[in-house]
């Protein structure tokens, strides 16, 4: 019995991931005005609206179980957007999330969250491709590897790194903390709690930074003293992960 609980606690299923994103969606909708206020201070004041539009679409999409087939990225646009009743595996699910957020959110955040989930989907697909059961759950170590690939995709798309006052300042420490915790043999609860705390700390650290990327960089040193809206929505993503996976 104890062993069972342990196994369940250290594996990630497609439905856990759905739950994660639904919790995230709810949190974004609650915090829409707050995110918009943060973006109004140093950007164009649309981050809350953009994210809200995206997660509303995500809720419809996840609810309706319309899952875009996990075809290769360069198969052409029709293939990339065409919904199909594919069997849901984790790779396909993450790809659907990516495509929904790209045009649902739009703007910089749509491209960046989209690249995150697209690369995560690719990593998941390659993990699942070689096994006997492509519908299988993945371990939290594999999940952490999936998120790491997502982060690499995001950084490439944004041509950005740490300390530039962007969502990366929440993403990267969170994924580092998750991986460290798992490597030390800690369980999912400890790992996702550590990730969430690191995301929060990273988000808070953006207050002292000068923006070097995105709309806020136009403000130069006047961007210092304000929390980055993208890092804030990313904190909610890891807060939702703690709720869904821990």
């Amino acid at each position: 019995m104890l062993v069972m609980v342990h196994i369940m606690n250290s594996e990630i299923s497609a439905s856990c991931i759905e739950r994660w994103l639904l919790v995230f969606a709810e949190r974004i909708l609650e915090k829409k005005d707050y995110l918009t206020d943060l973006d109004a201070a140093i950007g164009d004041g649309d981050h809350g609206l953009n994210m809200a539009r995206g997660v509303e679409r995500l809720r419809e999409r996840l609810g309706s179980k319309l899952v875009a087939a996990g075809r290769p990225l360069n198969a052409g646009l029709a293939a990339a957007t065409e919904p199909a009743d594919a069997e849901t595996n984790i790779g396909v699910l993450l790809r659907t999330v990516a495509m929904t957020l790209i045009s649902g959110v739009g703007g910089a955040a749509g491209a960046l969250y989209g690249s995150f989930f697209l690369n995560a989907a690719k990593e998941a697909a390659s993990l699942l491709k070689n096994g006997a059961d492509p519908q299988r759950n993945i371990s939290i170590a594999e999940f952490s590897q999936v998120l790491r690939s997502g982060l690499e995709g995001l950084k490439q798309r944004g041509k950005a790194g740490l300390d530039e006052k962007t969502m990366i300042d929440a993403f990267e420490p969170a994924i580092d903390a998750l991986q460290d915790s798992i490597e030390q043999g800690e369980d999912a609860t400890a790992a996702f709690t550590a990730a969430c705390q690191a995301a929060e700390k990273g988000m808070q650290k953006t207050i002292g930074m000068q923006a070097l990327k995105g709309r806020a960089s136009y403000l130069g040193p006047r961007s210092i003293g304000h929390q980055d809206p993208g890092a804030t929505s990313t904190f909610y993503l890891f807060e939702a992960a703690r709720k869904a996976f821990a």
């Binding site: 703007g107 749509g110 491209a111």
Partner: protein
Amino acid sequence: MVNLVIVSHSRRLAEGVKELATQMIFGAPDITTDATDANTDNTVQIVVAAGIPDEECDNATPYRLGSDALYIAQTIEQVWTQDGVLVLVDLGSAVLNTEMALDFLPPEMAGRCQISNAPLVEGAITAALEASLGHDLDTVNQAAESAAHIQKVSL
């Protein structure tokens, strides 16, 4: 003939740029406003992929301010020919999303597209003229990019 795609956060801005650029087309200007009714082979097509399609927004048009990679990719696909497409962008995520759009296109198509580093207005005007003269993609983009150095105010 090289076709042009105008990517901007704002539809009104993009349509204004298109209007100005269309005047520069050598020969008969094609005043199509939409990619869908642009089909001729012997005149430059200029189309806009501007704003984020959003049926629920409160604007006069079903687009909110911003940029959308999938919409940009679809627009490029509609006017793409072997001669290639030059994409002119305003700023910020217009660039990010155009780069992402090229990743969504088949490589042989993306390989015949360029994102111009040109300033939007001067670049579009120059590119429209150069493209209508039948120049190739590299030449059209080089001319558009060099428009950045035109001195507006004499010192």
